[in-house]
Amino acid sequence: MSGRRKIAIAGVAGSLRTHTARAVFLFYGSAVTALAGPARPPLSPTNIFAPVSTPAQSILELSRFVLTVTAAIFILVFSLLAYAVVKFRQGRSPDDREPAQVYGSTQLELAWTVIPILIVVVLFLTAARVIASIQNAAHPSTAIEVTVIGHQFWWEYRYPSLRVVAANELHIPVSDPAHPTPTFLTLLSADTDHSFWVPRLAGKTDLIPNHPNSMWLDPHETGLYLGQCAQYCGTQHAKMLLRVYVQTRDDFDRWIQQQSQPAQLNDPVSEGQQIFERTACINCHAVAGTVANGRFGPDLSHLMSRDTIASGAAANTPENLRSWIQDPAIIKPGCKMPAMGLSDPEVNAVTQYLETLH
């Protein structure tokens, strides 16, 4: 919980810092503001052109080059076409004679074969360099290792060396360029294909069953970065949202410390816990330190430390949680969690129990 508050405070401080700067930016108009930097994402929190992490930054630099080259080609060919279409249109009193018939020109055709080949060679070499720099990057010993497992329709995050299992909200430390602590993700899938895409951090990589993949992030700024599943995975593909919390190293360590504890339980066992453990809830959900050890659904040991439920589809408020337990299809029709057919008092009791899981 405290980690989350810290991020909010950092966000406020960030906006205060940029306050004076913004007055200056007003001078230059919105175009400059759009480029002003990632403190406040321009146009969209998922803008691919507002990178805060090296892979996304390298892609932006490559795309700037590609866009410049293609824009130049566009302007040239568009102008030629437009000129030809306007200049050579038939006049009001059409000439009865046909225009001169030209069958070709070896020099011209050679020119528009060779010049594009040269452009392609340059573009190819530039792209190849960026591919190598991202895909073959060194894997430092200080890196954080996270195993990401895609499920229909939520994300499981396992930190094998830190003994933490989390769901839907990925926490990683900020990476200081001087002392990089990148995060390496191992991407697995429990069912169908998914794709991990947080545009401001890196390009997307698919999660494919029987085909482990990997990718890495090294965010340079704290904050919350959004994204979502980018490979169609079934009915609720649209609400398989991604939230990546980039924290200072201290906040991240505190979060890990808190997440690695077993669930804090009431003594004596509450009514809600009894209902939870005698219905099918525990077939899919785990609560560390209790009999609930299912793995088909998100681990709920620290449910209340999350901002959202249903893989980012709803804020984690008591009302939403209650509605979710009563009938998940209201928030996410087609999701895999069934409505358990609990009575109102039972739903209230289970909600109260889950609200104790900090």
């Binding site: 998922t46 392609v120 190598a132």
Partner: protein, 557 residues
């Protein structure tokens, strides 16, 4: 050469009883009738696919909209993609190929008329199977009708585990059946072009449309076969306990992707090469000039055909291939830009120095030139693998390939419709309505597909039935949806114009455009036997030679 033909007793034909006329259409082996059947069938499916697209766009007009359920939305994009590729684009292009190739090479029919009829009815049956899934797809209570696995149906979503009921079976069978039809037609086109040309028409004197369709047919044989094989493997997986793509039993989801895109990318060229073919016939006639650099145009097409077979994995840059595999597919994909660029420059050079007549077919082809330029350039952006890691599977990709398929292929197809409608029906279309269609569709196309690039850059993935507010996507989606209604209005004007002109249009005569290829030397519509006497040609533009005996083409070729 001979341009006369024997007049048909047309009046006698049209007064036969309706049942007899329909029977003639169902049992016909005439390439012209089969061509028209293909085209009408595809137009019907164009309306289905258009309605599906409209439903999706209404759902996406604002965030958290509730126009349709996620299940229905997922069926809509699956059916839209499958319909538009397999039951609109391919049949309509086969239809034009069927109709035009024998006429353009001075033949009386295709090489295998009965295979031709068989292929059409297989394709037609495939389309019916796909749509029958709306009725018969449930199989299990609550399993859902109509396939909802996406048009490229990635494994393991298609396995029994994730796709219960029969909707996926209908998808598999319909593509299997229509795939046989496509391969049959492709073999027929190749055999016709290689064996049925009239005297004097060497390969180097064929109209460009014929050359390009030859390359297209070769690609169909090479590309549709692996798709058909993959469909059989998937059926084995689903019903005979196979594990090709069954990841839960050690199968590979990635193998399906390779199978699909080894078909899927050449398929893009299967569709766009005939579009190039239309442009290569229409642009010269309305610029009043011979095509610029015919040998280079042919070479560039063959080049696109070959390179097009080696680029498929650029659809898979995010699948986690090795850096060397990614690098190879960047190179092969970018290489395609060279022959494609040659084509655009050669069309430009054809226009250069001409006298452009802006009749409706030419309007569509000029718009095609500009739009295909943009589609090619966004293609270069996507070919740079790291850029694709951001743009892949986003709305940018949707905008890019609709720029190819609508801005490129559909625009030239509309041009082809107006250009050959007088030949097929014997009557002129209405030029005013033709231009109204063009402008409505042009405005709608640009509203929809220009603005669709932006949400992709802002991180909006494809195939989502709804999206969160506050992502900066709302306004762009609204504009995109508004454009759809302009396009729909354009298509309505088009269909109205064709219907009205079929009954009330002016009589066209055999050569309304003062054109140069053999189909314009016979009557409109041509008699069953096409030519009273098989023509003999000396150049690529036999009718130019006839009209300009003082300056014939064969002196220069």
């Amino acid at each position: 050469m001979s341009t006369e033909s024997i007049a048909l007793p047309l009046s006698g034909v049209s007064h036969r009883p309706l049942v007899e006329q329909l029977h003639q259409w169902v049992t016909t082996v005439d390439h012209k009738r089969l061509g028209i059947l293909y085209i009408l069938y595809a137009l019907l499916f164009l309306v289905f696919g258009g309605v599906e697209a409209t439903i999706m766009r209404i759902q996406l007009i604002r965030p958290h909209n509730n126009f349709v359920s996620p299940q229905v939305f997922n069926r809509m994009f699956t059916m839209h993609g499958t319909t538009m590729i397999f039951f609109v684009a391919m049949p309509i292009l086969f239809g034009f190929a069927n109709y035009l190739i024998p006429l353009m090479i001075g033949a009386r029919d295709m090489a295998y008329p009965r295979l031709n009829a068989f292929s059409f009815w297989m394709t037609a049956f495939g389309g019916l199977l796909l749509y029958f899934s709306f009725v018969g797809g449930d199989g299990l209570y609550g399993a859902g009708n109509a396939p909802d696995v996406g048009w490229f149906a990635y494994a393991p979503l298609t396995s029994q585990t994730f796709s219960r009921g029969h909707s996926t079976d209908f998808w598999i069978l319909s593509l299997l059946v229509s795939g046989f039809g496509s391969i049959g037609t492709a073999i027929n086109i190749i055999a016709t072009i290689l064996c049925m040309r009239c005297r004097g028409m060497t390969l180097a004197k064929m109209p460009l449309l014929v050359w390009l369709n030859l390359v297209m047919a070769g690609l169909v044989v090479l590309a549709v076969s692996p798709l058909t094989a993959a469909q059989l493997m998937l059926l084995v997986d689903r019903y005979l306990g196979g594990h090709f793509f069954d990841t839960q039993a050690g199968g590979s989801a990635v193998i399906w992707m390779h199978f699909f895109w080894v078909f899927g990318h050449p398929e893009v060229y299967v569709l766009v090469i005939p579009a190039f073919a239309f442009a290569s016939e229409i642009i010269p006639v309305f610029s009043r000039k011979a095509i610029f650099g015919y040998p280079v145009m042919v070479a560039a097409t063959i080049c696109i055909g070959f390179i097009g077979m080696s680029v498929w994995a650029h659809h898979m840059f995010t699948v986690g291939m090795s850096s060397s595999a990614n690098t190879f597919f960047v190179l092969s994909t970018m290489a395609i830009a060279v022959p494609t660029g040659i084509k655009i420059f050669n069309w430009l050079a054809t226009i250069w120095g001409g006298q452009i007549q802006f009749k409706t077919p030419m309007l569509f082809c000029v718009a095609f030139l500009f739009q295909f330029l943009v589609a090619g350039l966004t293609g270069i952006m996507l070919s740079a693998a790291p850029f694709d890691w951001q743009l892949g599977n986003s709305y940018f990709v949707i905008a890019h390939f609709h720029y190819v398929i609508v801005g490129g292929i559909l625009f030239t197809l509309f041009g082809a419709f107006y250009y050959w409608f007088p030949k097929m029906s014997g009557r002129m279309y209405n030029e005013t309505f033709g231009k109204l269609h063009f402008w409505l569709f042009f405005i709608g196309f640009h509203l929809t597909f220009d603005f669709m690039h932006i949400p992709g850059i802002l991180g909006m993935p494809r195939r989502i039935y709804t999206y969160e507010p506050g992502r900066g996507w709302d306004i762009w989606n609204l504009i995109v949806t508004v454009g759809v209604f302009f396009q729909a209005a354009g298509v309505l004007v088009f269909i109205g114009n064709l219907l009205r002109s079929y009954w009330r249009g002016e009589i066209a005569g055999s050569d309304p455009w003062d054109a140069w290829t053999l189909e314009w030397s016979t009557t409109s519509p041509p008699p069953t036997y096409n030519f009273a006497a098989i023509p003999v040609v000396k150049s690529r533009r036999p009718l130019w030679d006839l009209k300009h005996p003082e300056d014939p083409d064969w002196q220069y070729e």
